[in-house]
């Protein structure tokens, strides 16, 4: 790896630490994202309705670049587990990667413990539904169709197979919130869901559900780094145009 990667990493790390300390003192001011506002409302409604939330974490392996989206999904799962732990119908998570499935179980348990009802945690609520894209989708569809689910929340790595899960949810009149780090998955979710989350909005979900100052700080750091990239791209285009390189 070159110095550029190391510099980006170091700048990102320093900024994240500094902004997290700053965000702890001042509350985050977030722009309105309809899908995430709806997600926040859903948490309370599902407990009142006595229905279940299905959090689908995708099939991103933790050993490659797709792991980031799975980790972002786990942050949201932690908050959802804590808020819905007292519900008659506990939230269910599904994963298409075994390691992600194990982390989902651990995260669900941590959410229950944080709510002070660790004894209510059911280990089978964190599931690995399949190891290939379609078997994963088929297993996740089964949860949405048969387990009194009111909302399906898809946060993770999904390809075009997301359409099958979205269609199954739609047929059962289940509300659907979806985000993927994959371009094909994003296009499919745009066409299949009411409110879409595009691009990096997947990684902002934690900040919107109140996962902590570090999540809000991440958004600020992303914005700062994005400006650096915009300036670098414009400077590169200018120098190329001017014939410097």
């Amino acid at each position: 790896m070159s110095m550029i990667e190391l510099t980006i990493l170091a700048v990102g790390a320093i900024l994240l630490l500094a902004v997290t300390f700053w965000k702890r003192k001042s509350p985050a001011n977030l722009r309105e994202i309809p899908a995430l506002t709806r997600l926040f409302r859903t948490l309370g409604l599902s407990v009142e309705d006595g229905t279940r939330l299905h959090i689908s974490l995708g099939r991103g392996g933790l050993l490659d670049s797709q792991g980031g989206s799975g980790l972002a999904g786990l942050s949201v799962l932690r908050i959802i587990a804590e808020r819905t732990s007292v519900s008659d119908q506990p939230s269910v998570s599904s994963a298409g990667d075994p390691a992600l499935g194990l982390l989902a179980q651990d995260t669900l348990q941590a959410g229950y413990q944080a709510a002070g009802v660790g004894e209510l945690y059911v280990p089978t609520t964190g599931r690995v539904t399949g190891l290939t894209p379609f078997s994963y989708a088929a297993g996740a569809m089964n949860i949405s169709q048969n387990e009194n689910v009111s909302t399906t929340i898809m946060l993770g790595h999904f390809g075009p197979e997301a359409a099958l899960l979205a269609e199954a949810s739609d047929r059962e009149n289940i509300m659907m919130i979806g985000a993927s780090d994959d371009l094909a998955g994003q296009a499919v979710l745009f066409a299949s869901t009411q409110d879409e989350l595009i691009g990096e909005e997947l990684f902002s979900a934690g900040a919107y559900v109140g996962a902590g100052a570090s999540h809000a700080a991440s958004l600020t750091v992303q914005d700062i780094l994005r400006w650096f990239i915009v300036i670098a791209l414009l400077a590169g285009a200018f120098f190329k145009f001017a014939g410097v390189f």
């Binding site: 990493l9 990102g12 994240l16 359409a163 691009g199």
Partner: protein, 203 residues
């Protein structure tokens, strides 16, 4: 215990990351990655047991769709047993399980996906009528028309223009989205390395 798990996770993450920049740490990085691969394989077995447990539970409770759960458990363990007795590369396993069941099932789901996507596109404007949906649908139709093989050849103007749309506009947009996703992955990874997010050993 929480401190120990956090220490193991953070120190492993930092060592693997530093291995990319400091040549002296490469052997440690390789060793840790090998351990992770073994653990990931063990996690697969745990995942399979979890799947069995969930569906056995469904069958025993007589829940909706219990027949399918029973079918899943029986076929899963039958495949596992036959693979152990015959070995996975045996002709029967390849032809019967892979060629006869798994590949056709996945191909059927792929066919179903094509129809689902078409259906989703048709219903898009019924679900959400806004500028972005119209642009999305119009671009998809335009690019399809430009790339489809017709008996009378290419539709005048559309072929070249659709290539420009997909190679310049769409590619530029895709790169923009991917830069955003990469920044999201970077900050998520850093949060885990700093221990702010701990999806392991409780929190």
């Amino acid at each position: 215990m929480r401190i120990l798990t956090a220490f193991i996770a953070i120190s492993t993450g930092v060592l693997v990351l530093l291995g990319y920049f400091i040549p002296g740490l490469e052997p440690i990085q390789r060793l840790l990655l090998n351990w992770v691969m073994i653990l990931a394989a063990a996690a697969t077995l745990v995942g399979i047991f979890n799947l069995t447990l969930v569906h056995t539970d469904k069958v025993s409770r007589g829940e909706k769709g219990g027949v399918y759960s029973a079918l899943l458990v029986v076929s899963l363990w039958a495949t596992f047993l036959f693979a152990i007795i015959l070995r996975p590369d045996h002709d029967v396993m390849k032809r019967l399980v892979m060629g006869g069941i798994i590949i056709p099932s996945e191909a059927a789901l792929m066919g179903l996906l094509t129809i689902t996507l078409l259906y989703a596109a048709i219903r898009l404007l019924r679900r959400r009528v806004d500028l972005m949906s119209i642009v999305f649908l119009a671009t998809a139709v335009f690019v399809i028309l430009g790339s489809v093989t017709l008996t009378f050849g290419e539709i005048p103007l559309i072929g070249g223009l659709s290539q420009w749309v997909s190679q310049v506009l769409a590619l530029g947009g895709a790169r923009g989205i991917l830069i955003g996703v990469s920044l999201g992955i970077l900050t998520t990874g850093l949060r885990v390395l700093f221990g702010a997010d701990r999806p392991y050993g409780g929190n």
